[in-house]
């Protein structure tokens, strides 16, 4: 929900006339104008192929826009060198729809990845990972290879990996798609708690139930264009460009 307290917060992701195309194909996203402030919470919706994944991939700096300006944490990504981009990525947690776990690593090593990449000491890594795995109820599978886990377990590992380093931005693509309602509610609670601590959250979802249960603004992609809808407005109500 857009809270009064968000308004004065700094912008963490800022897109101006951003477009993206792959090779010489048509633009997947056109003229996207979007400012996400620190501590905001949005759902991202749209039909399959509407460009949600492309939009998210620009947000987590896996892709640069083909045109327009993208600023993340105040830095124009087109003029930021590779090492600085890596430092920016460390402040962003991502949950992928296909989890993207490393199969030959254990659940523990997968969750520890963002901390090790930052160069954190193993003692602290073990402490933090153990706590989080307990929280997502996977401490019994700590040493199991990721490839041996079920879909729901993989999803919880992916979420644990995304939040382990307490990111400033959390981007999640269908994070509750493979878990039961209880776990889904618990994970949403985790996202809300992180959001209260100042993390900017964007959740891509097809679940109308999730959107109606949790009253947050919705970013809706249609034919490569982005619109914002305020909570409980539905897609026909109060449409506005952001």
């Amino acid at each position: 929900m857009l809270r009064h307290s968000d308004i004065g917060n700094p912008v963490v992701i800022d897109m101006k006339n951003v477009g993206i195309r792959y090779d010489l194909g048509p633009e997947v996203l056109s003229d996207i104008n979007l400012s996400l402030r620190k501590g905001s919470f949005h759902f991202l919706t749209g039909k399959s192929g509407a460009g949600k994944t492309s939009l998210l991939s620009m947000m987590y700096l896996a892709q640069k826009p083909s045109r327009g300006v993208l600023n993340v944490f105040g830095k124009n990504v087109n003029f930021t060198n590779r090492d600085s981009l890596a430092l920016l990525r460390r402040r962003i947690g991502v949950v992928f729809q296909d989890f993207r776990l490393i199969d030959h690593l254990s659940a523990f090593d997968n969750v520890a990845l963002p901390l090790r990449v930052c160069g954190m000491g193993e003692k602290e890594v073990k402490k933090r990972v153990k706590e989080l795995l307990q929280w997502v109820e996977l401490d019994k599978h700590m040493f199991d290879r990721a490839s041996t886990l079920s879909g729901g377990e993989k999803q919880r590992i992916a979420i644990a990996r995304a939040v382990i380093n307490r990111p400033d931005i959390l981007l999640a693509d269908e994070p509750t798609g493979n878990v039961d309602n209880d776990i889904a509610r618990k994970l949403m609670k985790l996202f809300i708690e992180l959001n209260k601590l100042g993390t900017t959250v964007v959740i891509a979802t097809h679940s109308e139930k999730l959107i109606t249960d949790f009253a947050y603004p919705r970013l809706h992609l249609n034919d490569g264009n982005l619109r914002i809808f305020m909570p409980n407005e539905g897609l026909r109500g109060g449409m506005r460009t952001i």
Binding site: Y60, L61, A62, R82, D83, A86, L87, L88, R89, R90, R91, I92, V94, R100, I102, H104, L105, S106, F108, D109, A112, L113, P114, R116, V117, C118, E122, K123, K126, K130, M142, F143, R161
Partner: protein
Amino acid sequence: MITNNPSINRKQELPLKDDTSGIFLKVMISIAVFLFAVTLAGVLSINSMLNAWNESILGSVTVQVMPVNSADQKKAKQETMDHLQKTIEFLKKVPEVEHVRALNDQQLAKLLQPWLGDGIEIENLPTPKLIDVKLKSGAEINFAKLAEQLAAVSPLASVDNHKLWLNKLIKFADGLKMLALSILFLVVAITSGAIFYTTQANLGVHRYIIEILHIMGAKDTYVAQQYARQDAWIGFVGGCIGLAFAIPTIFMIAGLADQIEGGIISDAKLSWLSWLAIACLPLLSAMTAMGTAYYTVKKTLEKMM
């Protein structure tokens, strides 16, 4: 306690140890190090041979006094001895000369023995008298001027500074050395090329994991260090295997060279420093593999992502 649990040992994100390309690289590097070690031993031996030859050129001069031709052999012999004496007297006064020694008949007979056989009566043969002249250490002598002065003292005396025949040998040895150095360069270039292309192909294989690492905030150096560590180990193991085959080969070649008579090849000895250089080859191969892998990963990732 979780900290004591052995299962929690950190595992490399990139499963490079399980890659079959590692076996190919090990074999490749061991062959390269074998060739490198044998060729390097050759270069170092040639170097020591050249140094020994150069030392002998710089350190000594041979002066020969031709025999006087006369029907009266006794008179001719006496005149030859007079020329020899005058020449020795002159040579002793030259400032660069440290020691002058005329070869006696026995020594001359020994030198001629390969051509004339045993039991020759050297005093009855019109052979030139030879004077071995040792020069002072570091002294540089003007051979043209010395030859001129000698001719003034005795028209029968002439200088043989060994340079003429040794120069041809030195040129030949220098050529061999250059050839060996080119082989060393080629071996390093081919090995580095193999590491470069294997690493590039391997990056493609592990692209999925590398993308995840990047999204988690890993810098290119984080990925490059994993490749560099693995390839350094491969380089070291490959180097040790290559060296293990190369050392007996070097000894075998040295044994064959020792069987050649003439004393020229026997100058080609490897010093302990040369052996140390050869023993360090596994370290060199590890460093080359590490450096090449690191450079390749950094350059490829810049283009790949």
